[in-house]
């Protein structure tokens, strides 16, 4: 803490260097440092693109879907292979759900229409998985899903199959232990996105159609850039 001596050592009157030469030196170092910074930033990682910021979670790397079997709305087995080669939007719910499921399915319908208009829907599938197989038979699903969108498909499974699938996706649902006649089911309200390589790619926590459509577009652009 001796300001006087410090000033004395590094002051403008330091021997051997004129003020002008010193200014030039500082400038040269600054330019060099700036250039080095640019090179480090862009030169070393020329193709790096940040993962898209979406309303929800974007998985990087995507998580491969483990094998599973469900039953589709026509009574046929439904395995993870049905997801290969296309983008699938996935929603878990139940048909007796009077408020939030129709709401989300109508929003998915609206999103599908936006994507179709933007020509981003050619390779998409939409799937409603009922977690309430005691009441939702394939036949019931077959009647229910087309009301919301003609591309929407339905599937369900045994309680064990559904529990396994929900677990690997981190999807929560709870059938009451002692269900009354008109029981309701707590369930995750998220929409999941499976990529064409059958991997979980994103979880949308925001179900506004416009936002989901924009997020999907961002994801497609990101994937195309890789």
């Amino acid at each position: 803490m001796k300001p006087d001596s410090a000033t004395g050592r590094s002051g403008p009157s330091a021997p051997g260097i004129t003020p002008r030469a010193r200014t030039l030196l500082v400038l040269a170092v600054a330019i060099l440092a700036f250039g080095l910074g640019l090179w480090l930033n862009f030169g070393l990682t020329p193709d790096r693109v940040d993962p898209p910021a979406i309303n929800g979670i974007f998985l990087e790397p995507p998580r491969p879907v483990k094998k599973f079997t469900l039953i589709d709305q026509t009574g046929q087995p439904f395995t993870q292979e049905r997801w290969r080669g296309k983008w699938t939007f996935l929603y878990f719910g139940y048909t007796f759900c009077p408020d939030v499921c129709p709401l989300t399915l109508l929003k998915l319908n609206k999103m599908q229409k936006i994507l179709a208009r933007e020509k981003l829907d050619q390779n998409n599938a939409y799937l409603f998985i009922s977690v309430d197989p005691a009441r939702d038979t394939p036949e019931r699903l077959r009647q229910y899903v087309p009301y919301f969108n003609t591309k929407l498909q339905g599937a369900t499974g045994t309680p064990e199959q559904l529990a396994g699938l929900a677990k690997q996706f981190g999807v929560y649902y709870k059938i009451p232990d002692a269900p009354e006649k008109n029981y309701t089911v707590d369930h995750s309200s998220t929409v999941l996105l499976i990529d064409p390589q059958v991997r979980l790619r994103a979880v949308f926590t925001q179900d506004q159609p416009e936002k989901m459509a924009t997020d999907f577009q961002k994801i497609l652009e990101y994937v195309a850039g890789h």
Binding site: D99, V100, P102, L106, N109, F148, H187
Partner: protein, 163 residues
């Protein structure tokens, strides 16, 4: 001319709505509507706005309608992205702001529909309030397109988030 037509349409819509709006003393019920029944659906849901122009709070206790076996009041909780529908005994109708029954929030459940609700139709529903007593209303059934059109402005979940 377009503007005038627009005004006229709005005017008639408002006048038309007031047919469905009911008023009883201190409570005004506006735009009661129900969602059209998707195939297989045996429950229905009714939304509306209840405005309390009186000086003291009231409470919705329940209702009755010929279209359903029973009527329940429900709310909708969103916790960690898990949707939970819960029966509530009453719905508070405060005086400081309108009480909104809307998709993803408070709503009236029609349990055990006697027939599917079809867009464009109306049906009677009698609401039962603690202080205002019984208020009969006519509920309009809206189709899925009208329903979807409501959503963007709804921001329905926001009102019930406590993040």
């Amino acid at each position: 001319m377009k503007i005038i037509t627009g005004f006229l349409i709005n005017f008639f819509l408002i006048v038309g709505m007031s047919v469905y709006a009911a008023e009883s003393g201190t409570l005004q019920i506006t735009e009661p509507w129900a969602r059209e029944s998707p195939p297989t659906m045996t429950n229905g849901v009714v939304y509306m706005t209840v405005t309390n122009v009186g000086s003291e709070a009231d409470r919705l206790l329940g209702g009755a309608s010929e279209v359903a076996d029973t009527i329940e009041l429900h709310t909708h909780l969103m916790e960690n992205n898990v949707a939970k529908m819960r029966k509530v005994e009453t719905i508070e109708v405060a005086t400081d702001q309108p009480t909104l029954l809307q998709p993803g929030g408070l709503h009236i459940m029609l349990i055990g529909l006697k027939h599917p609700l079809i867009a464009g139709q109306t049906f009677p529903l009698t609401l039962h309030f603690e202080k205002a007593g019984e208020i009969p209303i006519e509920v309009t059934v809206r189709g899925k397109e009208a329903d979807a059109a409501e959503m963007p402005q709804g921001g329905s979940h926001a009102h019930h988030h406590h993040n």
